[in-house]
């Protein structure tokens, strides 16, 4: 099965990506689209800046995608991860999974997000409304635990 992986600065269009995955097919029974969005943290945040390790980001997400394809019977898979400055309300990451059955699509999308959070080489820094560059976002132990449950 072909998969689409893109690391880009530009916004993504979830509807167009879903159409690219499903149009002209009649074997797909379930599509899960997960969009991770930039929140304004109660109005405190002007933007998130995402630094990434070019080259490794593509390679690591490719490995995570390959794992998902081994574990679940997927008919389509798209992962788009943005880098650079992203303002509140914009999408940061898009994961699309297509399968004959809903369980596979749900589980694969959830697995992919848990692994992207903890394994994909991206780092978020906060830019605050008052013009200050805030702290690097700290990794959450809860995200590590979420990834652990797939072992």
């Amino acid at each position: 099965m072909a998969h689409t992986i893109r690391i880009q600065a530009e916004p993504f269009d979830a509807a167009a990506e879903t159409a690219a995955l499903t149009d002209g097919r009649a074997d797909i029974g379930a599509v899960v689209a997960f969009t991770g969005l930039c929140r304004d943290e109660d109005g405190r945040l002007a933007a998130l800046e995402l630094e990434h390790y070019a080259g490794m980001a593509e390679a690591e997400i490719g490995r995570i995608a390959a794992q998902a394809q081994t574990r679940w019977n997927l008919l389509g898979l798209t992962i788009i991860h943005r880098f650079g400055k992203i303002v509140p309300g914009e999408g940061i990451v898009l994961v699309l999974t297509a399968s004959a059955s809903r369980q596979a699509a749900f589980e694969a999308a959830s697995f992919l997000m848990d692994y992207l959070k903890t394994h994909a080489p991206f780092w978020k820094r906060e830019h605050l409304k008052d013009g200050l560059v805030g702290a690097w976002v700290e990794a959450k132990e809860a995200d590590d635990r979420a990834a652990e449950r797939w072992r």
């Binding site: 630094e51 959070k117 903890t118 994909a120 978020k124």
Partner: protein, 83 residues
């Protein structure tokens, strides 16, 4: 050997990347970190908390005990916060 740094590891060391000639006897990532810490206080600061900074060899996550022989590029970075 090329070393690359990201996020606050990059900021603390004060550069994005560098070429280093690693002395003989440095066999693992952990040994490389120990050697780097001896190179100056910016490195000491970047690696001050043992076990926090992650490493990758040629774009693959590795543990501190990983062998560095044959590596083209070794990266150091904080825990990832993507997604």
């Amino acid at each position: 050997m090329k070393l690359v740094y990201f996020a606050w590891v990059r900021e603390r060391i004060g550069r994005t990347d560098e070429e280093v000639a690693v002395p003989d006897g440095i066999g693992t990532v952990a040994e490389l970190v120990r050697w780097l810490r001896g190179r100056g206080e910016e490195y000491e600061y970047a690696f001050e908390n043992e076990g926090i900074v992650r490493a990758a060899i040629d774009h693959v996550h590795v543990k501190p005990e990983a062998r560095i022989a044959g590596a083209r590029e070794i990266a150091f970075f904080p825990p990832m916060t993507g997604g």
